[in-house]
Symmetry: D2
Subunit: 385 residues, 4 copies
């Protein structure tokens, strides 16, 4: 790829003003499928405050007829009520926040109702039916896999304008990829990765061992409940969760072109995913090299913030620092005695790892300002993010 992600980012950022003015006049209609879940509620909140979207319907099989505020307390006081999925009306854009496996079974109906579908599940993130056979339970609508654009806007925004089926990147994959990408992009790991060619078909990366140790909040488990996610059992945990074989490995491998040894732990927070990647470059690397790599990739990105050392309480990326925002914090530390680079990345899994990223991608696809509707800066202090 000539130019690469950082160039694309810069160009796009330069154009933001122009795009904004154009976009300001335009409004499209949008509905949310599966709106009673956590990602669905976040979409409702974001779309309600978005200058370019006119929110129409929020579907929920279980809550049809009830007010959206009955499920999402910050929306108490709004008029909108859940409708049956079967009563979906035509809109310009459909956001689907259903559990994995649902969208692939209804994708034809989604396109009957809308011109653009933004899917937050894993149903269209992988390139081939074979991958779904390996990592999931197969795929019901493989014909759509080519049509879908995987969305991790910082790294492949050039593919998104005009896309009509967007597969928003997964939370743990987003945190991991954003952390590791600059190392591949700058040849510190792997050599050339095909990550930014936009269809997710990565070129083979290097064979260095990459260990990714992820810590996630309880919102990743969804709004369902169950004994393991009850407050009494889930409070204060450091609980190995999908210790090996996590499905996001497939997404990461597809994007970075190399496999990662991935392990998840549930910890005591509600929102947030923090990925710590331990990598061992073949050649020595300096802190300056790392700063260069990360700055060149991200310095013009509106939703990536570097945090690598410094003074004060918050020195590295932390989920608390990005809670409620679409920002990913990325940072690193050097471990010369072990030939290791430790990469930290932190996101709000409901925002940057789900609804925020979906809106970000839709903004690009539809020609709106990239940051439209996504400008909340976050809170300090905040408890469990």
């Amino acid at each position: 790829m000539a130019g690469g992600a950082s160039t694309a980012a810069t160009t796009d950022a330069d154009d933001t003003t122009a795009v904004t003015e154009t976009a300001a006049a335009e409004t499209v209609t949008a509905s949310v499928i599966g709106a009673s879940g956590f990602a669905g509620g976040e979409l409702l909140r974001l779309l309600a405050g978005h200058p370019n979207f006119d929110l129409q319907q929020a579907t929920s099989r279980q809550r049809a007829g009830k007010s959206i505020g009955s499920t999402h307390p910050p929306l108490r006081g709004t008029e909108l009520r859940y409708t049956e999925p079967t009563e979906l009306e035509s809109v310009d854009v459909l956001f689907a926040a259903t559990p994995h496996g649902v969208s692939m079974g209804h994708i034809d109906a989604f396109f009957d109702a809308a011109d653009t579908v933004v899917d937050l599940s894993a149903d269209f993130r992988l390139d081939t039916a074979a991958q779904y056979d390996e990592w999931y339970d197969g795929h019901d609508a493989p014909a759509y896999l080519d049509r879908a654009e995987y969305a991790l806007p910082e790294l492949n925004r050039e593919n998104l304008p005009g896309a009509d089926l967007i597969a928003s990147g997964g939370c743990n994959a987003t945190a991991t990829i954003l952390g590791l990408y600059p190392l591949f992009e700058h040849g510190i790991l792997g050599g050339e990765t095909g990550a930014t060619d936009g269809d997710g078909a990565g070129e083979p990366g290097g064979d260095e061992q990459i260990v990714v140790d992820v810590k996630v909040g309880s919102s990743e488990g969804g709004a369902g409940g169950g004994a393991a996610s009850s407050h009494a059992e889930r409070s204060g945990v450091v609980r190995p969760y999908a210790p090996t074989g996590h499905r996001h490995e497939a997404e990461i491998e597809q994007f970075l072109g190399t496999s990662v040894a991935f392990t998840c732990h549930a910890v005591d927070m509600v929102r947030g995913a923090s990925a710590t990647s331990h990598v061992f470059p073949d050649a020595p690397v300096s802190k300056g090299d790392l700063w260069t790599a990360y700055r060149e990739c991200y310095e013009d990105e509106p939703f990536v913030r570097l945090a690598a050392g410094g003074s004060g309480v918050y020195r590295y990326p932390e989920p608390k620092a990005v809670a409620g925002t679409n920002v990913a914090e990325v940072g690193f530390e050097l471990d010369p005695s072990n030939g290791r680079v430790v990469v930290f990345s932190a996101i709000d899994n409901v925002m940057k790892g789900s609804a925020g990223q979906a809106v970000h991608a839709a903004n690009i696809a539809l020609g709106f300002a990239e940051t439209a509707g996504l400008d909340f800066a976050g809170l300090h202090p905040v408890g469990s993010p």
Copy 2:
């Protein structure tokens, strides 16, 4: 009082559009004194995102020269650095977020630098030097007490336009007063209260016993630290804190014109104050009476939301539901067998109980749209708010 708070609220809300258009063109300069604390950081965030304020300086004796992001991680990436309080430059509006006792000692200097001073401490909330003798350690600048307008905008916004010294209401007092006020306003408690005549000099209310049991988060203790507020000692507590004689009793009594039996507990959250008021009206009251009282007071208020029963997980006011917002949730339940009304009110103490209320009051004082800069709706789910 003719009209009362609720009428004023309605009128004001009706005028919002016009005010907004006028205000949209206007920008004033503002600085924050004591900006490295929790309330100070929130002011920085709110002013940075406010359409009518142009943030100039953030003072901090301890952090002078450091970036504001070093203390407030969501502001990482902004250019502003702390300046010494002695290097304060002239601005239109000065927000003071210093500990109690500081503003009264520097109020002359504040007015040398600014036309309007919005003080977030308790230094100008009470009416008389005698009250400061009783509840605090006296007052250094009693001449300013008459000049100061206590700000709890829902209940006395008519006093605020043009005010040049604003004493923003305290967190626990705000939660308590917003909860109890409709009962006084509608004669369910006390008879006529002088609360809304604007200078805080309440007329004597009734003599019914009022018990207020408040639960607060750790941010109320400020950014300082200390053994009692360390994570190991403070996690998971239900800790009686100021079990009797809390200073906010003075503020509540001044506003409502009646004394309350007030007790605070520290609980495990960071943001949030939840006041549960147990009252025993002299005459029987129905749920319909209560709904009427609260609706008439608050239905047009942009920052008050009623929550009293209903289905779902969130039925009554909860700090979680308002975390990060300037919204107060207010609700109630009837206990016929004990002749009791239980009133619940919940706010984010850093926002509605401090920085948000200060900006709200400044918006009114300066003729801006009331909700300008305060439109964040909150998050769901969220952990410790």
Copy 3:
């Protein structure tokens, strides 16, 4: 009542050594019904470490055949497996930790299997079928109500020796009653209460208004789960829960002989119940009076600890300070300006509020040392208790 609770306590404590020596030689068999829940697991743990009980069976309909460690991780490594309730074998003592309503339906079967039944539910706590009609859904086995001894050992231990049906006091009621009892016992409230006559049929107390504001942890909701108790929804809450009409009011009223205005809040802890009682004595009372009242009642009690002021982080009763123990902390503060006494009491709801109290009562009923098996002192620091 001649003698009173405190005298009984003293006498009993004096006899402890003798009782222990006698008891040390004796062992009885015991089984736990409903052992997979939180209280059931705690019983398993206590009985396994108890010198006088030989644990036989742990029944669980849902987990039959599985190891008890699969549910209660501290018991991982023990051999015992759950059995079907229908396979219950004869034992000396049966502890029933089933949900309210179950024991009353199986009480005949319980007595077929055992000589002594200790029930942890509410099924035998009230005196009359009429009370169950009022507060619950009636009673299936009213003939047993007279036979049952309510157990709050500090206050009615004299009724327990030889009792064969013990109704262990409820968690919130235990915290509340232990806090308020000395005020009634010493005439600061109410005059004579019949509380200590042992069958729970209190004499009418005074008519002073008593407000009880209780904060409880998530373990009170049981091991079940559900959306409201999911970690994402339950973390960081101050959530009004049973704001009025809580069933424990019946138990408190029966014991103290006066009604209380009772409100519960869910807060972010797992174990623990903290009751703050706001009372307004008719006559002035001094701190010395209060110390006298509480010391006389509790100074010889092995499981009550007074905490009322002093220095350091922990000045009043706190659930954290008693987590995992059978200890109730009780304390108070005086509010002269409001004529109020604030009483704080804190327990571990799974221990002193359930399984620990049941074992304590059984120890007395069977002539074992009162503290046998209940000597764990608690931890410091500890997070959410």
Copy 4:
């Protein structure tokens, strides 16, 4: 190595009964230096409930004269008060729970007062002054380094009987070593390790890359406080802490004979350390191999519990499951596609990682039953451990 740790363990366990009976008659006197901290308080609790120790003094420079219950609430009600360190009297055993660097400066005085010194700091854990030069700020009493026995009883208990200077293993090192040791012992990693020869001078292990990602609670930071450990800043964190160069690397390397790439994260719990070790054996390994390795090492250990899969909520080691206990949970999972073994180990850092391990080591050194005073089984449910 002849015999090895597992054999030693088995032998010792077989002898437990005999030892216990002998020991039951014996009591020695003990005092605690630095008793107001978290580890010091835990020592006070353990020694107070220990059948073979007679607790004499608890020193604290800052709290001298105050009751030990003023700092450690579960000890409220005990008579003992803190004494000045200068007023230390002679005892049989001295437990030192002072910050790192203190014991090395007072070790002569400690031996003037006691025959046996058990040090909980890092001051005598490493073998050579050169290591202290590299990892710490040098050493003040290098002559004692040879005399000190490092104590991680499961792995080197044969060195402890009769030892008079015991360096209790560090929390993170203990968790990590207990998790990895069986892999070295059984040749899955490294080949022969010299770990168990008892003086900590490990033979070189293999060169496989080992990544250790540790999550710790706030009690690891001690009782001090400070902004970073305040509740508001520390709640809900996943905070990189000592991302590289952690001093426990030295201890782990010395014991296992190989370096590890070690990174710590602060997470929201108070007690607990959870180490996840990612290793890549040179040769393929099966789950059966792993079970064999871990069972042979630990099946007779009273304080190690294996947890590796199974059903239910708790499938792998978790700090919650061992909170308050001296138990280490150890488990593993196989990741065939990445050629990886993931090892999980979880301890209570204040117990198994500090005070509990010190008492365990002292029990062995003095010929008491290994488990004396350490039989608390833990709690379920429990919040933040």
